[in-house]
Symmetry: C2
Subunit: 284 residues, 2 copies
């Protein structure tokens, strides 16, 4: 069966309601396009678990805190469609901005608490924009399952809280981060790095691994672990740390002491490129 | 068929999914209980249009800006159940607070703009609480249609914006305000009025009618019309005006000039009882 590409909500709803009536379960992979190996893993898992797989491709203006970042975001629809076709996606939903926001958007979903630290602190309004568009996509697609990457751990926490606290009838599936051979998490932003910046970027994963090892060997002081991880990052003068935090994996609040699983999360800048990564770390 | 009374979300979802599979359309009447003639009209209309009618009864703590108002709110479940039974409701969903809020609620729906004036200005957080619980109820019930009274016009505007801007697959049905013989809008709060206060309360509808007549006869200055309507309210020393505004019926923002349909809305206090009412008014 060949890939269907749909731009209107009404057409998508028509297609999906006939699939639903035929008894198919629906899997949604929400993306902003510029598809890469990380998305591939999301699609593969959706393909395994769902009768009908929808990939949405929408660069969501209301989640960008910087207009420049929004306009510069890569838009590669034709290669994305080939990418989806090769992975047996059933339908790509690629709406225009006016299809998703035909009126001034006055309604927003706020997930408080979970969004206070990490990226939420440095990108005001970002998670409000993410939660709002994801809820809109859920209401349009009404998927049985929706797939998100662990790399965006705070986004995942926001969506899990939203689903639970708004009683949304959808199962959130978390898919492990895909990494390059040297450990760098796959991201569309990696393409912007020069060869030298690309070498420097490996420091991010190395720093997280240092924290992971210390936690696994029984260290319980977040401050001490952070110092050690930061020391790795500070070896590279081209790398600027935005944050490195050790947080509770559900509430995403910094912990005082490590007594159970925690997430070590960091954001760094290399030149004008911002990279994030995280690891779920467990004490012995 | 006798009325079913359900307290758990899981049980309600089971019941509804079998009704849905059987092809029934579902109508939801969300209430806080203390059912009266206004609710009766909502239920009647739902009964006419839907195969299966759900009335929810839930005094929603997060929409009360004053704790005292929340604890004093009437709770009359057994008479409400008889009321619903007499009107051929299929199921009453009457959850405990812990069923709706089992976790700390961190996720909220904010409808900006529409909530700035009128009640929104005087009851901080009220519409955030309303929008959030209504969205939760929509996600639990997944109704085809949901019924709301015109008396709570700003609430209706908030819900209409939410539905439109979050792409919710539900039709909102507006039902006209039910009034006593002397015009007072039916409300559970009317029971709190003494006979003398009850007499004074009729001034609210009279003031709105004065505005309606002036608008129908071509008056276009909101300030002049408000002065005339306020003069009626000020005849009663026991009646304290919280607001009287002339607003755009969709955005609920005060208008500078009347050139199309507007909503005249007011809130007054009589003793410790707050009453609201409104009229949709059209120029010639």
């Amino acid at each position: 069966m060949s890939l269907q590409s749909v731009h209107s909500i009404a057409e998508l709803r028509d297609t999906l309601s006939s699939m639903r009536r035929a008894g198919a379960t629906i899997g949604l992979v929400p993306t902003m396009g510029a598809l890469h190996a990380g998305h591939s893993r999301l699609i593969e898992q959706a393909r395994q678990e769902s009768g009908y797989v929808v990939v949405s491709i929408f660069v969501n203006p209301i989640q960008f805190d910087q207009k420049d970042d929004y306009t510069r975001y890569p838009r590669t629809l034709s290669t994305d469609l080939e990418f989806c076709q090769a992975r047996s996606v059933d339908v790509v939903f690629a709406p225009a901005v006016e299809e998703i926001y035909p009126h001034p958007q006055r309604t927003f979903v706020e997930v408080t608490g979970v969004t206070e630290h990490l990226c939420g602190q440095f990108r005001p309004g970002h998670f409000r924009g993410v939660a709002t568009v994801v809820l809109k996509l859920f209401n349009v697609v009404q998927p049985d399952r929706a797939y998100f990457g662990e790399k965006d751990a705070q986004q995942l926490a926001v969506i899990r809280h939203m689903v639970r606290e708004l009683n949304l009838p959808v199962t959130i599936v978390e898919v492990a981060t895909v990494r390059e051979a040297d450990g760098l998490a796959v991201s569309s932003r990696n393409q912007r790095l020069s060869p030298e910046q690309r070498r420097v970027a490996t420091g991010l994963f190395q720093a997280l691994q240092v924290a992971e090892k210390r936690i696994a060997s029984g260290a319980s002081s977040p401050d001490e672990i952070k110092l050690e991880a930061l020391a790795i990052l500070q070896q590279e003068s081209q790398l600027r740390v935005e944050y490195l935090e050790i947080v509770d994996p559900d509430e995403m609040q910094p912990v005082d002491r490590i007594a159970g699983p925690v997430r070590v999360a960091a954001a760094v800048w290399i030149g004008s490129t911002r990279l994030i990564d995280n690891l779920l770390c467990k004490p012995v």
